[in-house]
């Protein structure tokens, strides 16, 4: 598979910081992969997303050492707080989703079609004429993801995208990822919601204090997470369950 982004021994430090945020990270993310990035708070997951999409250090500042190659022609990123990602200039959801393709100077008909398709994918076509300022957090997050998809990115970074969503909306958001990956999108997902992410991820990374300590299939790598630790402590044989219901079911057996 074509790598969308390659990092080789990448170390990144934020401006003014006295410790590195990423330490010697080497990895490749290919088209069609859904890569979940796990780690404790401050482990460097969000920073990895910024580095992989080229935003750090270009806009964030700081220093990057090592080699980084971004093959993806377009990258999208979605943060946890949807209201910070709105342009603030659009009076309808359709305009908000159209913003990116319009900035790229695509013809009007194409922009409209891309936006309509992205809204359809996210199940928000019925919100097209609503004012983004009057939407709920969950609806807004889907608008932001649709806006990212309308750009037709080859690499999509999602930084805790379900933070503002209720459980059903979070499930719906994660269910949407495999079809996107199947269409050739590389997805990099940083989230503390390992249980949901593990259901859709094709690969998992574990970061500790900025260093990549594990990289492999979720079923193998994610036992390093809390559920895995609990499963080991409960004496479950590998492969370990990835979420709490599965762990409880295993223990019950």
């Amino acid at each position: 598979m074509t790598p969308r982004v390659s990092l080789a021994g990448v170390t990144f430090t934020y401006p003014g910081a006295d410790r590195v945020a990423l330490r010697g990270v080497s990895l490749e993310i290919a088209a069609g992969e859904i890569v979940v990035v796990a780690g404790a708070a401050g482990a460097g997951a969000s920073t990895l997303l910024l580095v992989a999409t080229g935003l750090a250090p270009r806009l964030v500042g700081g220093t990057l050492a090592g080699s980084r190659t971004i093959e993806a022609r377009r990258c999208g990123i979605v943060f946890a707080r949807p209201w910070t990602q709105l342009t603030g200039l659009c009076s309808t959801v359709a305009d908000e989703v159209s913003f990116g393709p319009a900035c790229a100077g695509r013809p009007r008909a194409e922009v409209t079609e891309l936006a309509a398709r992205a809204m359809q994918q996210l199940g928000i076509a019925h919100l097209a004429l609503r004012d983004p300022a009057h939407l709920s957090g969950g609806e807004l997050q889907r608008v932001v993801v649709a806006a990212a998809l309308a750009l037709q990115p080859e690499l999509l970074a999602l930084d805790d995208p379900a933070a503002e969503l209720d459980p059903a909306a979070a499930d719906a958001l994660y269910r949407m990822l495999p079809p996107l990956a199947a269409a050739g999108l590389a997805i990099l997902l940083a989230t503390p919601d390992i249980e949901r992410a593990a259901r859709v991820a094709t690969r998992a990374l574990v970061l500790e204090e900025g260093a990549l300590v594990a990289d492999g299939p979720p079923a193998v790598v994610l036992p390093a997470t809390e559920v895995g630790v609990l499963a080991r402590a409960a004496g479950c044989p590998a492969p370990y369950p990835l979420d709490v219901p599965a762990l409880l079911a295993r223990i019950a057996r």
């Binding site: 935003l55 910070t84 990602q85 342009t87 603030g88 305009d95 990116g100 319009a102 790229a104 009007r108």
Partner: protein, 253 residues
């Protein structure tokens, strides 16, 4: 109320350049007027503009709130402390030329504030962006102008949220002046720091969506312009030029 108020008035339907040209004409004309009567005619013109936009009550109320402290200051500086001849009114005497000067300056401020409040209330930021995009204005400049129009309503919404949150935590707003001043800290700090943090994230999100691409942006729904509106804008320009010519002629004469 400062900011856009949705509506269907002639000003709402007008091309955004026309509305801004009207506000700009009031601004420049205010400095060309030197007599209290002409300046206050301009204030009346500003009020008529607000009435045309269906925002008379809110614009006049806000303009008064913003202008009153300036009037009070002008009254003290020119009316009470101004030069002779003085007019006695009971135990107090006023400077006649000082009062005339204060009326001119206060009227200018009121007319300008009223004109711009009306323009803010009737110019949809989205339509302005579309109009500027259609004219090929670089997005950086468009964003700067349009986000200036939206910054106050956004800050007000954020301040209201912070106020509610701090009151839930026991912040008391009543009491002495000193207590009220003390309460400003827990309100202002989160407001400023939160806004700065969100700006960081918004910059990243907008960059990824191509806002900084620099190429021509597609205008999706440019507001219609018309020959009468273009004529009106040129007419306003000529009117302002004539007002300045008249002013300078009088100054030389």
């Amino acid at each position: 109320m400062i900011g856009y108020i949705a509506g269907r008035s002639p000003l709402h339907r007008a091309h955004p350049y026309t509305t801004l040209a009207l506000a700009g004409a009031v601004l420049f004309a205010a400095f060309a007027m030197t007599e209290p009567a002409t300046v206050w005619l301009l204030v009346l013109a500003g009020a008529a503009l607000a009435a045309t936009g269906g925002v008379l009550r809110s614009s006049v109320r806000t303009a008064l709130v913003l202008s009153l402290p300036i009037w009070a200051l002008l009254f003290v500086l020119y009316g009470l402390l101004g030069a002779a001849p003085r007019v006695a009114l009971g135990p107090v005497s006023f400077s006649a030329p000082g009062i005339a000067r204060a009326l001119v300056l206060g009227g200018r401020v009121t007319a300008i504030v009223l004109g711009f409040l009306t323009a803010l209330a009737t110019t949809s930021p989205h339509r302005l962006v579309e109009a500027m995009t259609a004219r090929g204005v670089p997005f950086g400049r468009t964003f700067l102008l349009a986000s200036t129009l939206t910054v106050l309503p956004r800050m007000r919404e954020r301040a209201a949220r912070i106020l509610e949150a701090q009151q839930c935590r026991g912040l008391r707003l009543g009491g002495s002046v000193l207590a009220r001043v003390r309460a400003l800290g827990p309100l202002a700090l989160p407001l400023i720091l939160g806004a700065l943090a969100e700006v960081d994230e918004q910059v990243l999100a907008l960059d990824v969506r191509g806002a900084a691409a620099g190429g021509p942006r597609t205008a999706l729904d440019p507001p219609p312009d018309s020959r009468p509106q273009r004529a009106l804008r040129w007419g306003l320009l000529l009117l302002v030029a004539a007002a300045y010519a008249w002013k300078f002629r009088r100054m030389r004469g």
